[in-house]
Amino acid sequence: MKTRVFLVAALMLAALSLSPKTFAADITVSDAWARATPPKAKSAAAYLGLKNNSGEADQLIAVKSAIAKKTQIHRTSMENGIMKMGRVEGIDVPAGGMAMLKPGGHHVMFMGLKQQLKEGSHFPLTLVFAKAGEVTAMVKVMKPGGMGHHHHH
């Protein structure tokens, strides 16, 4: 009986430490995903949601990954039907609020991709915040061109 209790406690502890969400963190990252790419693709994008759990405004100021030569924060904007894409300095995450990186808007841009992103695989992405510091998230690679789990077929 005692062994069983111990086992359950150990399992619970293990589950806690494995949980992707960091407890009491100032910033929580949700639904990080990227599109699967063709074998020789040189670029890719990742999308995610950011929640600021603190009472202070924060800003995503840099992104880092090992999958590409350069990892940058980019934004797509449309002007008179013309799509423009470019690097931005940062993304504000208001106190107690959210910031969304999603198709057609802000995204993490990988330039000089070193590996093919295969559907179903994961890779780590480090997000650097002005106040919360570094937060690492696992990015899930989804179906080519997919819209993430918010998109229903």
Binding site: A41, P103, G145
Partner: protein, 195 residues
């Protein structure tokens, strides 16, 4: 009395033409909507086979201009096209979806082959010489231009470009233009009406 009626009629006419102009501007973001969109072209497909507009006659064409290095809007638009085609089922057989590169320097037929395979089996990728691309882009009133983000290397440039999806008739005539972020079900419904 007659004068008041005339003023009313005039106001009504103004309102109607205003509304018409507004609708046109919304659905066709080109300088002059009465200008013909589309026309002859000479390009190569993703099998490196030379093609012209004549190869696409007889079926509707769904045309998107983009570039494969584009990680955000282009794959999203191609996914929308792919999903709309799936929703159309059998009727999709009457449509040729086409991705025309505005980045011929990087988008060789080989690169396009990988790119189109990632989306829909019926998708054709087209590229050409810079002159041929300029010609076809002009014919479709498509703007494109290179931009280099800060800190990027020579081969890491991006392209600003017109990002709509054109539906062309089996005779090559322009039918409608979809916004790059149209939901696939709306695209499918409108295509169904126009087929």
């Amino acid at each position: 009395m007659q004068r008041r009626l005339m003023i009313l009629a005039l106001l009504a006419a103004l309102a109607v033409s205003g509304a018409a102009l507004w609708t046109l501007n919304r659905s066709v973001p080109v300088a002059n909507p009465s200008v013909n969109i589309g026309g002859p072209f000479r390009l190569v497909d993703h099998h490196a086979k030379p093609v012209t507009e004549a190869d696409f006659r007889g079926r509707h064409m769904l045309v998107f201009f983009g570039y494969t290095y584009c990680p955000d809007v282009c794959p999203t638009a191609m996914q929308t096209v792919s999903e709309a085609l799936d929703m159309l089922g059998k009727e999709a057989g009457n449509i040729r979806p086409v991705f025309i590169s505005v980045d011929p320097d990087r988008d060789t037929p080989d690169v396009l082959k990988d790119f189109v395979a990632n989306f829909h089996p019926s998708l054709t990728g087209l590229t050409g010489t810079p002159e041929q691309i300029k010609e076809v882009a002009n014919a479709f009133r498509v703007y494109f231009g290179k931009v280099k983000p800060e800190g990027a290397e020579a081969d890491e440039y991006l392209m600003n470009h017109t990002a709509g999806v054109y539906l062309m008739g089996p005779d090559g005539k322009f039918l409608t233009l979809f916004s790059h972020n149209v939901p696939p079900e709306d695209m499918a419904a409108k295509i169904k009406k126009l087929l």
